[in-house]
Amino acid sequence: MLIDVHAHFFHRESARVDGAELNRRRLAAGDRMGITLHVASILGSWGRHSPTYFPSPADLTIANAAQRALQQQHPGRIRGYVAVNPNFTTHALAEIATGAREGMVGLKLAASRRADDPLLDPLCEAAASLGFPVLHHIWQHRRREWPGQEASDGVELCRLAARHPGVNFILAHIGGGGDWLHTLRAVRAHRNVHVDLSGSGTDGGMLEACLRAVGAERLVWGADVTLCTGWAKLRHLERLLPAPDAELIRSGNAVRLFPAGAFA
């Protein structure tokens, strides 16, 4: 079993005119790689009607519905995160409730509000009540502001995780840009923070450092935008690790983090 905990799809209201083709290619490449389940989110309209990292409530409602439709269309291959913008608490909580009722399995937070901001607390409380993990977009060591997003780094996510010890957090794309060594120092002591291996970066030594920092038990496999780099990291891990440890990263940890029966 291989679970991609960090996938994205597109829908007809997305900025990408080739969205359907991208979805088809993701599933086809996933089949070739042996991906059993794509756990995915859609970030609003991907910039068409509102900014990708600051999506409007209306765009999120459409996106989450589209994500659920994909899950219904491919029940054996796709699961969905509820994507929300923490600046709109009432809307976000309603989306989470709707998503949970209709089979979504986790909460996706991107970069609309800093990870350690109090506005994220009610969302995390909702996640806790549902047993949802929280996948949080992370810039590995944010030394400055970046345009187009209110990015957070590992230190900021760990502050949130410390306030919500009953919630499992997935720190997004350790290979997605920035200084992963900084992140790995930050997360070592936070047992409810798990590291998602996705991202286009395949730096030599990164996976070994991940294993030293948090062990196989707190690593989850994912690809994000680039499936090839995800597959490369998986292959490297399978060269490094005994099969039981690799299996934890392939799927075992994800099965433990998501609600019971999420992948049945």
Binding site: L22, N23, R25, R26, A28, A29, R32, M33, W139, Q140, H141, R143, G177, G178, D179, W180, L181, S200, G201, T202, D203, G204, G205, L207, E208, V225, T226, L227, C228, T229, W231, A232, K233, R235, H236, R239
Partner: protein
């Protein structure tokens, strides 16, 4: 397979496993890579990279699967002697990365070196980047190679074969379609930084530019050698095309296999 983009020696910025020849060969064996073109990584940053040449040629002598790609600094006095020695010692190519050397990428030193490589019948290698700009050490401020420099090299040195590593789709397309056909045919690109599905940049480039322009390159051990292999495994390439990309195109660049 021939990996045209590999390194030996420590990075100045972070620990990297597998930097010794024996470790590199173990990885190559595990992944089915027969030969690697190797550069002495620390010397990319040395004031005089030629200080590394004896070590690199010595390693290549002991490990014939590792073909040396020494760094030549065209801003130093008598750099032409380094180039002559590289040819004499069996270098498969030479390289210079103007960002790391602190040279103007299309300045007279770089242009003279690129032209001299043509005279010496040695491919010239340069990297667009060595690491992701977003994750570099605060003091690692070497600028990335600009597209216009590669255009200048290709246009000003009609006998030189250029091997560009770590370029992404946008870079490759901008250079390729800004060159005349005979100029573009002297450029080869490794696939270390070209995305696979779902964006499918690699499949797109192979279709629009042609398999003949691409080489198997990884950037190992700075980057995982599994990456370009995974990219190839996600393509529907014919066996002859895969052989050309992973082996044949690089063999055609190698004077030793041409003679």
């Amino acid at each position: 397979m021939i990996d045209v983009n590999a390194f030996l020696g420590a990075s100045p910025w972070r620990p990297v496993p597998g930097i010794e020849p024996a470790a590199l060969l173990v990885t190559m064996d595990q992944l089915g890579i027969g030969t690697a073109w190797v550069t002495h990584l620390p010397s990319l940053y040395w004031k005089d990279p030629a200080e590394s040449h004896a070590e690199l040629f010595g390693i290549a002598g002991r490990y014939p699967r590792l073909r040396p790609v020494p760094v030549i600094h065209p801003g130093l006095p008598d750099w032409e002697a380094d180039l002559r020695r590289a040819a004499a010692e069996g270098a498969v190519a030479v390289r210079a990365d103007p960002g790391q050397l602190g040279l103007a990428p299309a300045g007279h030193e770089m242009l003279e070196l690129v032209q001299a490589c043509g005279e010496a019948d040695l491919p010239f290698v340069s990297a667009v980047r060595l690491e992701d700009l977003r994750g570099r050490h605060p003091l690692d401020v070497a600028p990335e190679l600009p597209t216009w420099a590669v255009r200048s090299w290709a246009r000003s040195a009609p006998r030189t074969r250029l091997v560009l590593t770590h370029a992404d789709r946008g870079f490759i397309e901008e250079v390729h379609f800004s060159l005349a056909s005979d100029e573009g045919r002297r450029c080869w690109w490794d696939i270390a930084w070209i995305w696979g599905p779902p964006e499918d940049h690699l499949a797109h480039l192979l279709a629009t530019i042609g398999v003949g322009r691409f080489l198997f390159g990884s950037g190992q051990p700075l980057r995982l050698a599994e990456t370009p292999i995974a990219r190839l495994d996600l393509l529907d390439l014919s066996a002859p095309d895969r052989h050309a990309l992973t082996t044949g195109n690089a063999l055609n660049l190698d004077r030793r296999t041409q003679s």
